[in-house]
Amino acid sequence: MIEGKKIRKVFKSGIFGGKTVVAVDNVDITVYDGETVALVGESGSGKSTLGRILLMLIKPDEGRVIFDGVDLTKLKGRELRRFRTKMQLIPQNPEEALDPRWRIYDSIAEPIRIHKLAGSRNEEEELILELIRAVGLKEEHLNRYPHELSGGELQRAVIARALTLNPKFIVCDEPTSMLDISTQASIVRLLVEFQKRLGISYLFITHDLELAEVIADRILVMRNGKIVDERSLH
């Protein structure tokens, strides 16, 4: 379970920080285990900022982020890193999510190497092969570079990378808005399948209300940095 309590984030711009934008304004949010919460709103409403704060990729100005009872805003460097394995991001634009100069294999292997999950090269390879089969890619895709894959294939690779560390909470930031309709359907199906199998909870950020209604247990509507509406669907 992840909880955000009274989260506030102000961005300053201009000389001496003269202009301020309140991106997230005093927001309370909870995502329970195994739940899918859709966060909908127009561009600029602060939904991506809120998602990144819950992952502690952006530090909030005020408020706390509590993951399984631990206050993440109080943790530092190494302690926080332990929790990073449990929370992942699937970004909007798969083309920009992967290093263009790395083969797909290395991008998926990176988190395994950083967190030393595999004892040997062989073990690492087995892990990765298992993962890419699960997301519907073939072995031959691993040796390619990002520009040699289609949008749908890339998003599958990004999902494989996000799953390497067995996360409990994933923020999906408009994962299908750049994809074709039939590709969107297969990617969303894939995400739902993993949730059933692994019990992951999702914060699904989207501006497509129809899509939100189909996949989410709960819908939160965000406007001007505030959550203005909440609806349960099941």
Partner: protein
């Protein structure tokens, strides 16, 4: 008004010939909003660029593009320049199609200055009126592209497209990268432009449903169905059209099995057959375009011979 007959666009590449558009025929009537839908890689943007002759040199184009009786494929570059912008306008995708160092007002005035030799002051007044009309605000003509949001930038592109009062407007994915509420504004915007003949290219089915009179579906370089909008959404004919509609969130989010085949070496016969649940032996030969009470479909299922 616009008749396309057996249009083929092949690209020579190191890996072989890419048949991006392979024998496409259709007709856009005066005043009609004709929408071409298809997924990325289906060849729909290449088709539009072929009409305006905007393709790179390694493209081999054959067939006919008849615009008011003239075959655009055979026109010289000089004659083509007189048609682009003046008679056929092109509204490109909103991402990065505006020149960042020129004011938007100047960019909208350019086609008018180019084609009509009007004096600058009256052109300027015309652009201001156009901006007011499209809801951009006449006071924003002196602004630069970066000062606009995505939705506003799309409006500017529409203003640019219609400033010289063309006969035909070709719009390439006008809703790409915009969020849901902005998309409905773009529909209103196109409604405002009125009864102009339009060829709209999109993969946004909701947008097409709201705007189009007629829908053509493109798959792997071929048109597989042409239907009036209402009939298309209530009773799609081609198995691919059905698959596309079923993958909409509101219609069950059911993906089409398999992947789009490579355009260098597409399957012989029907190009959809590997992904089609109705595929049979005869799909291995090229299906004909069948006329069903004024609707067209390229599929053996509808062959009653």
């Amino acid at each position: 008004m616009l008749e396309i007959e057996d249009l083929k666009v092949y690209f020579r590449t190191n890996a072989g010939k890419v048949k991006a558009v392979d024998g496409v025929s259709f007709e856009v009537k005066r005043g009609e909003r004709f929408t071409l839908i298809g997924e990325s890689g289906s060849g729909k943007s290449v088709l539009a660029q072929a009409i305006l002759r905007l393709l790179p040199k390694n493209a081999e184009v054959s067939g006919k593009v008849l615009f008011d009786g003239r075959n655009l494929i055979e026109l010289g570059e000089e004659d083509m320049r007189k048609i682009r912008g003046r008679e056929i306008a092109w509204i490109p995708q909103s991402q990065s199609s505006l020149n960042p160092v020129l004011t938007v007002g100047f960019q909208c005035a350019e086609p008018v200055i180019e084609h009509f030799r009007m004096d600058r002051r009256s052109v300027f007044a015309k652009v201001v009126r156009l901006f007011e009309f499209l809801g951009i605000g006449g006071n924003r003509v002196e602004n630069y592209p970066h000062q606009f949001s995505g939705g506003m930038r799309q409006r500017v592109l529409v203003a640019m497209g219609i400033s010289a009062d063309p006969k035909l407007i070709i719009a390439d994915e006008p809703t790409k990268g915009l969020d849901a509420s902005k998309r409905s504004q773009i529909v209103e915007l196109f409604e405002k432009v009125g009864d102009k003949t339009m060829l709209i290219i999109t993969h946004d089915l909701n947008f097409a449903e709201n705007l189009a009179d007629k829908i053509a579906v493109m798959y792997c370089g071929k048109i597989v169905e042409v239907s009036p909008t209402k009939e298309f959404f209530s009773e799609p004919l081609h198995p691919y059209s059905r698959g596309l509609l079923d993958s909409l969130p509101s219609r069950g989010l059911k993906p089409i099995k398999g992947f789009q085949p490579s355009m260098i070496n597409p399957p012989k016969g029907c190009r959809f057959r590997d992904r089609c649940e109705f595929a049979s032996e005869r799909c291995k030969s090229e299906p004909p375009l069948i006329n069903l009470n004024g609707r067209f479909v390229r599929c053996w299922l509808y062959d009653r011979r």
